[in-house]
Point group: C2
Chain length 287, copies 2
């Protein structure tokens, strides 16, 4: 499917992700409308050129839509998907941008027959949220996870692959469970750990903490600066996988702390070497 064959797109939720998709699609000449919660956001999206039109109500936009991308925090997205599924004409394609997939896919499986649905997760973001942070190049080179549902067919799969490709991303088909296990380890647990590091530093008795914190602490806590509602939703909708990742993490952190406490330098160095070389294999020396 070439970009030209992508039907007009309705984006529900015009934050960083929705806004960035809108900007990109408009650059490619694809028709885009939007639905969002506040008039202010809609006005701004129009002004930036992320949408050509839209409204604050699903009922006004969904019936005419052909391809709908829901890009809101996960729990909200599930609610919006469900409502949109009721309002949409048969043959409409629904997809999402949520960072956990099992609960989303379950909701998609419950959509009326005749509605097509594909789960999606563009693996890109930045710490700034909202339409003003939207960037048409946000997804360039990123992986855009796609998951089939009981409502998927060849046409909806092709349309969602095209959507990802038009945005500059690489589509990757993954099972929802596998996806959720992976993002628990590389995204959801790191987010909670980063938040806990900030809260622990804040609780430290030394005021000096904030005076001394430099680039290392800035980098490690960057993901803790994101939108709290988005963070809460991803943890809430991926709790079992998150719990499993946290247990593994706790085992490793305890080993490291124990080695430090007992003065076991060889063991500490071994564990840190393992981590450093694993990370280096992945990202190279720099980066």
């Amino acid at each position: 499917m070439s970009p030209a064959t992508l039907p007009p797109v309705l984006i529900v939720g015009l934050g960083l992700i929705g806004g960035s998709v809108g900007l990109r699609l408009r650059e490619q000449g694809i028709a885009v409308r939007g639905v969002t919660r506040s008039q202010e956001t809609l006005d701004r999206a129009l002004e930036l050129g992320a949408v050509q039109g839209g409204s604050l109500e699903l009922t006004r936009e969904v019936p005419d839509a052909r391809l709908i991308l829901v890009a809101a925090p996960t729990q909200t997205s599930i609610r919006l998907l469900t409502v949109a599924g009721e309002l949409a004409r048969p043959g409409t394609i629904l997809t999402d941008a949520c960072s956990s997939k099992q609960e989303v896919v379950a909701a998609m499986n419950a959509l009326p027959r005749g509605i097509a649905a594909i789960g999606g997760h563009p693996m890109a973001g930045k710490e700034l949220a909202g339409i003003n942070a939207a960037d048409s190049r946000l997804f360039e080179g990123a992986t855009w996870v796609l998951t089939k549902t009981e409502r998927s067919d060849a046409a909806s799969a092709a349309a969602c692959e095209t959507l990802a490709t038009v945005c500059g991303a690489d589509p990757l088909w993954v099972e929802p469970e596998e996806h959720d296990d992976a993002v628990a380890a590389i995204s959801h647990l790191p987010l909670l750990a980063a938040a806990a590091l900030v809260l622990a530093a804040e609780g430290s008795r030394s005021e000096l903490v904030w005076r001394l914190a430099s680039s290392g602490f800035r980098d490690i806590t960057r993901i803790a600066a994101g939108e709290p509602e988005m963070g809460a939703d991803l943890a809430l909708t991926n709790s079992p996988a998150l719990h499993e990742a946290a247990t593994l993490f706790d085992t490793h952190l305890t080993s490291l702390l124990d080695a430090a406490h007992t003065g076991d330098k060889p063991r500490l160095q071994h564990l840190l070497s393992q981590a450093a070389s694993r990370r280096r294999r992945m990202y190279g020396g720099g980066g």
Copy 2:
């Protein structure tokens, strides 16, 4: 004290920190010699212009030195400082670049009378290690912590302030205990947590982990890519403060995970908001 009044400097340990200081001092026309473990490193430091000369033996360099910066992993630095203190002429000034200060200061307090010593910790770094990563601008705008010892006097304090300033850093006098509590929270615990995140991701059953890991995981685990020996030494020499920071961290992480597990969205959102706004107050929206 103006840069011109800084005596010739002997740098012991020509890795990222020692090499970067050497390059900077040489740019300012200050005489620099070096001591390092391998001929290869010494040759490279000469080639890069980080030192004008040097050798592999403290005994050959220390007796003629006036200001000595020891820039090795913490436990090694303590050993080198102690040896250098025995070899040095009275009036020689010793300082270090270690990221924990209480054990270093204790070793400095035990130096022979007549030797002057000031603890130091330039709060800068990058994940690449070694002389080849040295950069004369590494310390620009960074805080350079200085701590007094029982061997400090006005002249050594002034010399170390000048050393920091010449490197482009802002000297900041801090008590060793206070320093160590702060760096446990913002540097040592984050390093171990980042290593544990990498190890947990590695242990996850999904191979997909490494395929999906993107900029967020890259940022949060960056400090886990550093030199294992340096990491081990900082944890080993700051274990009590590290333990305290880890306890606080565990409390916060457990609260976050519990809120996710019990579906307590308001609480989860509250905790994430606290972390996000604290971080934003510190680093601003971006960064």
